[in-house]
């Protein structure tokens, strides 16, 4: 019954709270795990883990419409039916008319309604390549990661794919734990990374923004019934706000996994392409180790 692999997702609500640095440290501390970088539109984990790509594949999350200029009669139906203001009357001339319709690939949501209603078969609607995903080896275990094309859609679908491939890989290699680096916010990529996961660790910081965004993320994990814990990073930057966060988290039924002190070694470790626990033993590294112990004691990998 159920899957054997446990999925731990690290998210933050607010960006820049130290999510990826914590994930890299967890990778070093876990001994054996599969890593998944689900922050697909600004992935950074590879900078520390130096993955050697062993497999890559392009990702198509949907289709995209484009006008076949030669067939366009400039009837304007496409522009009338488009709900995304993606169709404009400024395309190149063809053999019959001096101006045709054109579809802005950035504004196009890939719904295909224009293509469906075009009477002249003048709109091509075919799968678009939105990005690329990779399976790699790192010094801390295999890693699945991806790169969403610039200005592309479907980040949620790519996140789901990366997660699924990481779980498959874990199964194949009999590794019990998948550690997932999520993205900031509460929207589609975040929802795709936490639904059905075994545990979410929210990394926050002791600022009014950190607290505000933590509470929204806590609502989100509750909405999707995913168990969640909180790590207060750089807690000593404002101990007052840090204790406020602890209080609020308790009220929300979130367990505090631990507090990590502010330490400039985190940036130095990053510059040296290491996780901070590999870079130094003391300072914030001991805090991160105790956060890892409290998180991993609640996970039960097969």
């Amino acid at each position: 019954m159920g899957k054997k692999q446990q999925e731990l997702v690290i998210i933050s609500g607010k960006g820049g709270t130290g999510k990826t640095s914590i994930v890299a440290s967890f990778a070093a501390l876990a001994g054996k795990c599969v890593l998944a970088d689900c922050d697909v539109d600004a992935a950074d984990l590879h900078l520390v883990l130096d993955p050697q790509v062993i497999w890559s594949e392009s990702f198509s999350g949907g289709k995209r419409a484009s006008v076949v200029t030669e067939r366009c009669t400039a009837c304007g139906t496409c522009a009338e039916v488009c709900r995304f203001d993606a169709v404009t009357f400024d395309g190149p001339p063809n053999s019959r008319i001096d101006k045709t319709f054109r579809i802005d690939p950035v504004a196009c949501e890939g719904c295909g309604v224009c293509s469906w209603f075009c009477e002249y078969d003048a709109i091509d609607f075919s799968p678009s390549v939105n990005g690329e995903w990779f399976v790699s080896e790192t010094r801390h275990g295999p890693m699945v990661h991806a790169r969403l094309g610039i200005a592309e859609e479907n980040s949620g679908k790519l996140v789901s794919l990366v997660r699924q491939e990481a779980v498959n890989l874990a199964e194949e290699r009999e590794i019990g734990l998948v550690v997932i680096d999520g993205s900031p916010g509460i929207g589609c990529p975040v929802i795709a990374s936490i639904t059905g996961a075994d545990m979410v660790l929210v990394v926050t910081e002791p600022t009014v923004s950190g607290l505000h965004d933590l509470l929204r993320v806590a609502d989100l994990t509750r909405h999707f019934a995913t168990p969640a814990m909180v790590c207060i990073n750089k807690w000593d930057l404002n101990p007052l706000v840090a204790s406020e966060i602890e209080e609020q988290a308790c009220k929300q039924g979130l367990r505090i996994a631990g507090k990590v002190r502010y330490d400039r070694a985190v940036t130095r470790a990053q510059i040296n392409r290491l996780s901070v626990v590999e870079y130094q033993d003391n300072g914030c590294s001991s805090d991160i180790r105790s956060v890892w112990e409290s998180v991993s004691s609640l996970m039960h990998p097969a």
Partner: protein, 280 residues
């Protein structure tokens, strides 16, 4: 009116700090400023500008509504939907509104009127004033996946001003594109670390794809390494400001205070940034 979007690939580099201080400093120099918080998943501008909210409006999106008993089971709605938001079982149509992008395809192809356009609320717009700054923010409801419609509405709510400051979400995908696509200029805020640089490179590609003029603000410029500066020089990218790391500023931020109110030097950094952005 000049529309300036404040963006960054990486989160937490200081986008909101730059956007709120820019808006506050400009408004104190007799410039009519509108601040638009387009980071609708996690809007933080209000924590610093502390606006008085005068009006709230729902953000509605179009979704299919079902007229029971009219479905003939033809399946056209299911066939046109690219998002898996419509299913047909026997002579019943089922709608999954959270997957719907509001393209209108299903109700346009429905021959019997079993599907009709209806509305669903996915968020809220708040309009107010913070000292001399006109303030608009969007808030996406928890559990909703798609923020672009909320962002679109923030931007269409915008009042007239000399300077519009658009606080964008982090990243490089659809919410960012929606926030910055019609800006006159984009300010990319970064920090001089390997993560900051990696995400800056992506953000630069994004604004170049959209053919938008842009410049870079390097925040906490005296931490990290020199590679970000080297990258900007090699690429011929304008450095608009280098803001040094300052514990007092970090503490003011943690309490929800504007840096320009706390530290004198910051007030002048932002005054010259405003000048530069309005000249450009």
């Amino acid at each position: 009116m000049r529309k300036i979007a404040i963006a960054s690939g990486k989160g937490g580099t200081g986008k909101t700090t730059v956007a709120t201080n820019l808006a506050a400093v400009a408004s104190r120099n007799s410039i009519r400023v509108a601040y638009l918080d387009c980071d609708v998943e996690e809007p933080n501008g209000a924590l610093f500008l502390k606006p008085r909210i005068d009006e709230k409006r729902p953000v509605n999106v179009s979704v299919p509504g079902v007229h029971e008993g009219m479905c003939t089971g033809c399946g056209l709605c299911r066939d046109i939907c690219q998002y898996g938001a419509v299913a047909v079982v026997n002579r019943n149509v089922l709608v999954f509104p959270e997957l719907c992008h509001g393209c209108a395809g299903c109700w346009m192809v429905c021959p019997t009127g079993a599907l009709v356009e209806s509305q669903r609320t996915i968020g809220q717009i708040e309009i107010g004033r913070a000292a001399k700054v006109d303030f608009v923010q969007g808030i996406l409801n928890i559990g909703e996946a798609m923020s672009p419609p909320v962002i679109r509405q923030v931007k269409t709510t915008a009042v007239d001003a000399d300077l519009q400051v658009i606080d964008s979400p982090p990243g490089t995908s659809c919410p960012v594109i929606e926030s910055i696509r019609d800006a006159d200029y984009v300010v990319l805020v970064t920090e001089p670390t390997p993560f900051g640089l990696n995400d800056l490179v992506l953000a630069v590609e994004t604004v170049r794809t959209l053919a938008l003029p842009f410049g870079v603000v390097i925040n906490r410029s005296d931490t990290g390494d020199g590679q970000t500066l080297d990258f900007c020089r090699e690429q011929g990218i304008d450095i608009l400001a280098e803001i040094p790391d300052d514990r007092r500023v970090a503490e003011a931020y943690s309490r929800g205070e504007l840096a320009c109110d706390t530290v004198q030097d910051y007030s002048s950094i932002f005054a010259s940034l405003v000048k530069r952005l309005l000249e450009g």
